[in-house]
Amino acid sequence: MTQAAISPKELSVQAATRLRPIERTIEFGLLLAAIFSVFITAGIVYVLFSEAVPFFRHPDVSVWKFLTDTEWTPLFSVKHFGIMPLVVGTLWTTVIALLVAMPVGTIIAIWLSEFANAKVREIIKPVLELLSAVPTVVYGYFAITVVAPAMQPVYTWLAEAINSVLATVAPGASPIATELPLFNMLSAGIVMGIMIVPYVSSLSEDAMRSVPMLLREGSYGMGANRLTTAVRVVFPAALSGIAASYILAISRAVGETMIVAIAAGQQPNLTANPAEGGATITAYIVQVSMGDLPHGSLEYQTIFAAGITLFFMTLAFNLMGAWLRKRYRQAY
C-alpha cells in the first residue's frame, strides 16, 4: 500500500517532534555524567568489599567475634578484632557533637529566619558558614589547646559531684577519674559540634524561610506572638528540612576524621565515659593507613573491615533521613 500524501503542516510537526542528532548527543552526554557517579559509588563499594571479604575469611577472624569482642588490637602481638570500641568511640563523639550542634544550630536558625532583619541575616549567615570552611586540622588543635584545658576545672567539679553521689548510692563502686586527660572524646566532640553548627543552622533556616507567609499570618491572626509562631507553626512546618539538616550533621560527624584523630587520642576504648580518650573508626583508618603495612596483610585489611562498618552506619543514617523527609514532608 502506498503512503497517503503528507500535508506540509504534518511535515513540520514531524520535523519538530523528531529528536535531532545534536539533541541525542546531548542526551547521551548527560546520561554518561549521571552514570559516572553511579559507577564511582559502585567502584568504592566493590573495593571495600573485595578487601573486607578476605579479612572475614581469615582463620583468626569471624563476623561474630568482630561484632562482640571488646578489644580492637590488630597491630599488637595478641590480636583482637572487635570493632565495638571503635564504634563506641564514633558514637560518643557523634552524640556529643550533635548535643552541641542540634540545639545551637536550631536556635540560630529560628533566630535568623524569624527574628533577625534582612540586613543582619545577610551578615551573620556567611560568617557562620565560614565556620565550616575552617580546616579540620585547626579544629583538632583548637580542641587540645583551648577546649580541653578549659574543660578541666568543669570536669573536675562534675566528676567529684558524681563520685560523691556514687559513694552514697553505691558505696562499693570505684570512683571515676577527676582528671580530664588532654586527649579525650568529650572535647573532640564539642569542637566537632561547633564545626557542624552551620550545617544545621543554614539548612534549617532555608527550610523555615520556605514556609509560606500565609501559614505565619494564620498564626499571628489567632493572636500569637513571634516566638509562638516560630516554635509552634513554622518549626513543625519545616520539620522535614530540619530533620534533613540533622541527618546531614550526623553523617558529617560520623565521617569526620581529623578532629577526632588529633584530639580524642588514638587508643580504642570501649567505655561509658566520654571524658576518656578513645578512637573512632575514621581515626583508626587514618592512623593505620599512614603506617607502612604490607598491602594484602591482615592488618591492612582491617582498614576495609572498619571502612565497611562506617559505610553501613552512614547508609543507615541516610536511609533514616530519607524516611524522615518523606514522613514529615508537608504539602502546604
Binding site: R216, G218, Y220, G221, M222, G223, A224, N225, V233, A237
Partner: protein
C-alpha cells in the same frame, strides 16, 4: 434573609476618615463606614481597589511588614463580659495588635491549616489564651467544629493531620479555628476563591448560619456571593469607598453610576 430591623442594630465597628499607606502609596483613601453588630458586610470591588487592604487593617495584619502606616480612626465597639461597651481605636499606636487579633479572627484566601492534628488546629487559639484543661479544650473544639459544619466529617479523626482534609474541609477547619476563640468579629478574605462550587456553597451556608452569632466582614470577588450572603455591601474603587448601603439596595438600585457599571459587569 432580609431583616428590616437590621438598621437599628448597634454598631460593632466603624471607620472614620480612614486611610492606609504602603510606604508612600495610599491604598485606602479616606474611607468612612459603619459596621453593624451581627450583620454580614461584604466589601466588593475590582482587583487592587483596596478591599483586602482595608480588611487586613482590622486585625492589624499590616503590622507584620515594615513601612505601612494607618491614618484616621478604626473603632471597635468592644463588649466586655459585664455587658458594657467600650470603643477601641484598632489602629491607634498604643493599641496592641495582638489584642486586636485576639478579639477579631480572620479566615484567609487560601486554607492555611497548621501542620498539626485537626484537634490541635482548632485548639491553637484556645491554648494561646491559656485554656489548658483537656476537657474544656475538647468541649470548645467540638462546639467550634459543629459551628463550622465540620464535626460530623472529622469527629472520628481528630488526631489526624489536618493536611489530610480536602480543600473545602480545610477552609471550614480554618473557620472553626477562627470561631473557637469566640471572637467579636470574623474577617473573611475571599474565603472561597480557592474552592470548587460545592465547597463554596457550603461555606456560604455557613456564613449565613454564623450571622446570628458574630459580626462578619467579607471581602469577595464574586458579586453573586456578596448578594447572597451579605446584609450590607461596600463598593470600593481605587482605594475609595464609592457606595455603602443595604445589599439589596446596592444590587437592585445602586446610587452611583460607577457601582451600577461594576455590578452589571462592565468593568472589573
Amino acid at each position: 434573609m432580609p431583616d428590616t430591623q437590621i438598621d437599628t442594630r448597634p454598631l460593632k465597628a466603624e471607620v472614620k476618615n480612614f486611610s492606609f499607606f504602603y510606604g508612600s502609596f495610599q491604598a485606602v483613601k479616606n474611607v468612612s463606614a459603619p459596621f453593624r453588630e451581627k450583620a454580614v458586610t461584604a466589601i466588593i470591588g475590582p482587583s487592587g481597589c483596596g478591599k483586602t487592604t482595608l480588611l487586613r487593617c482590622f486585625n492589624r495584619m499590616h503590622d507584620l511588614y515594615p513601612g505601612n502606616r494607618y491614618a484616621g480612626e478604626m473603632i471597635l465597639h468592644s463588649r466586655s463580659p459585664d455587658g458594657s461597651v467600650r470603643p477601641l481605636n484598632i489602629v491607634h499606636p498604643s493599641t496592641s495588635p495582638i489584642e486586636m487579633r485576639m478579639r477579631i479572627s480572620m479566615v484567609f484566601q487560601k486554607p492555611n491549616p497548621f501542620p498539626k492534628s485537626i484537634f490541635e488546629n482548632v485548639a491553637y487559639g484556645l491554648r494561646l489564651r491559656g485554656v489548658g484543661s483537656r476537657s474544656e479544650l475538647s468541649g470548645r473544639v467540638e462546639t467550634a467544629l459543629r459551628g463550622a459544619a465540620l464535626w460530623d466529617e472529622v469527629k472520628d479523626r481528630l488526631p489526624q493531620n489536618a493536611y489530610g482534609l480536602s480543600g473545602g474541609q480545610q477552609q471550614r477547619l480554618c473557620i472553626a479555628r477562627a470561631l473557637a476563640v469566640e471572637p467579636e468579629m470574623v474577617l473573611f478574605d475571599e474565603p472561597t476563591s480557592a474552592l470548587d462550587p460545592i465547597a463554596t456553597s457550603k461555606i456560604e451556608e455557613l456564613i449565613d448560619d454564623l450571622r446570628e452569632r458574630v459580626t462578619i466582614l467579607i471581602v469577595t470577588h464574586n458579586m453573586q456571593q456578596a448578594a447572597r450572603v451579605s446584609d450590607y455591601t461596600a463598593f470600593m474603587y481605587l482605594g475609595e469607598l464609592v457606595e455603602y448601603d443595604r445589599t439589596a439596595k446596592v444590587f437592585q438600585n445602586p446610587g452611583k453610576p460607577l457601582t451600577e457599571q461594576y455590578i452589571s459587569g462592565r468593568f472589573g
